[in-house]
């Protein structure tokens, strides 16, 4: 049911208590156009967790992610990010969040480096050109730095989009169906990228549709159904059938 991730090992649990809370949501709800999209969402996410949110279409996954990204405000309930009230001090929080969407969030008419320099400048990073070049190098895009994004393949533009999201070194990465439409090599690249980020101590929350892939990648699975959390368990305690049942249950 709506159980928080319980840990059977007391020593590890003690360590968890001291890990900072990245997301704290209580009674979170969102109503849009008189339709209740989310209700009674309670969630605690600690630093370094790698989490996937699953659910059928319309279950409220994207809305929940938008709330965590401070792109929209909750109708009811409280949301705390990095210990701050998300509704009061959004600016301080935004610096620490990176968003990867199935939309690119890149300007197609500008070149790869122009896009990254723009975002680097917007985030107030030192030496924006250097940061941009480093990021392009890391994602194997340096040779296409001056080409407009509209000339990129889907895999390349998705890599650039990830580079954009990581440019300001965020502590919380939110990704909405990042694997959608990617071919196998790009998909593998992205999986490795996420794993590297988590190993570095950052928190990753992704909305995904492929349940098998999810079980392979993440530490904790949350299933949304009908606008509220139906399942919230660490991966090692779950079987594929169980998740399928929760996702599709009526």
């Amino acid at each position: 049911m709506t159980a928080l991730a319980a840990n059977p090992f007391p020593t590890i649990q003690a360590a968890e208590e001291t890990t900072p809370l990245v997301v704290g949501a209580r009674g979170l709800g969102k109503t849009v156009d008189r339709r209740i999209v989310l209700h009674d969402v309670n969630l605690r996410i600690r630093a370094g967790e790698y989490i996937a949110i699953l659910g059928t279409n319309g279950a409220g996954k994207t809305t929940l992610l938008k709330l965590l990204a401070t792109l929209t405000t909750p109708t009811t309930g409280q949301l705390q990010l990095f210990g701050n009230d998300a509704m009061r001090t959004p600016s301080a929080i935004r610096r620490r969040i990176g968003l990867i969407d199935h939309q690119l969030l890149l300007y197609r008419d500008l070149s790869a480096i122009e896009n990254l320099e723009f975002y680097a400048g917007l985030y107030g990073l030192d030496e924006p050109t250097k940061r941009a070049e480093e990021m392009l190098h890391r994602f194997n895009l340096l040779d296409r730095a001056d080409d407009p994004v509209k000339s990129f393949s889907r895999g390349m533009s998705q890599r650039l989009a990830i580079g954009r999201a990581l440019l300001h070194d965020p502590d919380l990465i939110l990704a909405d169906e990042p694997f959608a439409g990617l071919d196998a090599p790009s998909s593998e690249f992205l999986e490795n990228a996420f794993q590297q980020i988590v190993t570095a101590g950052k928190t990753v929350v992704l909305v995904n549709h492929d349940i098998e892939q999810t079980l392979r990648l993440v530490d904790r699975v949350i299933v949304l159904r009908g606008g509220t959390i139906a399942l919230d368990q660490p991966t090692h305690r779950l079987y594929l059938e169980e998740i399928l049942a929760e996702v599709k249950a009526l």
Binding site: M1, T31, R34, H39, G226, G227, L231
Partner: protein
């Protein structure tokens, strides 16, 4: 107040409004002197002025309701804003028609670009557009936000319209000194007109509320049953 009690109150209110109109009409045709230069058409003025002022008040209510919606995002404010704008358009139509009748009576023209007529026209256009905006947007939330922003801006525009039309050539002197019988007649007309405007705004707000789906926050239960754990 119980539904039965409300119904009785509403009926008494409208009956009283009609009675006051009847009284005002009686006063107009028996007591009020006919103005020398214009003749009987001048009597339109006693309807025109109260309605013009009511229009302005309705616009102000819409303005306040728009701000109310933008700060609280509660649908009640949106319903009031839409209702008062609707009433403003109806009243402003009467202002335009009576103004044109006056112009016909005074100068023999149905239309002239004088400050007052132009002002009435622009006001009418401003709020008709408000209604058109609401008709054009399907999403309830988006409609409310767009309407509220426009309602806010439109009312702020009104004093600027007033100041700008004063630059236009005027055909008649600005103010007329009113004799006592005329003032009394005006007061007799202000009462039913204000009652009409206020009643219409209230009625239309209630109508707006009924036409929307029941708000989930009111009944306290979700719009569809919660599945999974609670």
């Amino acid at each position: 107040m119980s539904t039965a009690g409300t119904n009785i109150f509403v009926r008494i209110y409208w009956a009283a409004t009609v009675a006051m109109f009847a009284l005002a009409l009686a006063v107009l045709f028996t007591y009020t002197p006919t103005e020398s230069t214009m003749g009987p058409i001048q009597k339109i003025f006693y309807l025109h002025l109260p309605i013009a002022i009511s229009t302005f008040i309705a616009c102000m209510v819409s303005f306040i309701a728009s701000i109310g919606y933008l700060s609280t995002r509660k649908t009640e404010w949106d319903e009031l804003a839409a209702a008062s704008a609707w009433v403003a358009v109806q009243l402003c139509s009467v202002v335009l028609i009576t103004g044109m009748l006056w112009a016909r009576g005074a100068w023999g023209l149905w239309w002239t670009w004088s400050p007052r007529l132009t002002f009435s026209l622009v006001l009418w256009l401003l709020y008709v557009v408000y209604l058109m905006i609401r008709m054009s947007i399907e999403s309830t939330e988006r409609r409310a936000i767009v309407g509220a922003v426009y309602g806010l801006i439109a009312f702020l525009d009104v004093p600027l319209v007033y100041l700008s039309v004063r630059l236009m050539p005027d055909m008649h002197p600005t103010s007329v000194e009113l004799a006592w019988p005329m003032k009394l007649t005006l007061m007799a007309w202000f009462v039913p007109v204000f009652m009409l405007a206020g009643g219409l705004i209230a009625a239309k707000t209630v109508l707006n509320r009924r036409q929307g789906e029941p708000s989930p926050s009111v009944a306290g239960f979700p719009a569809f049953p919660a599945r999974g754990a609670l």
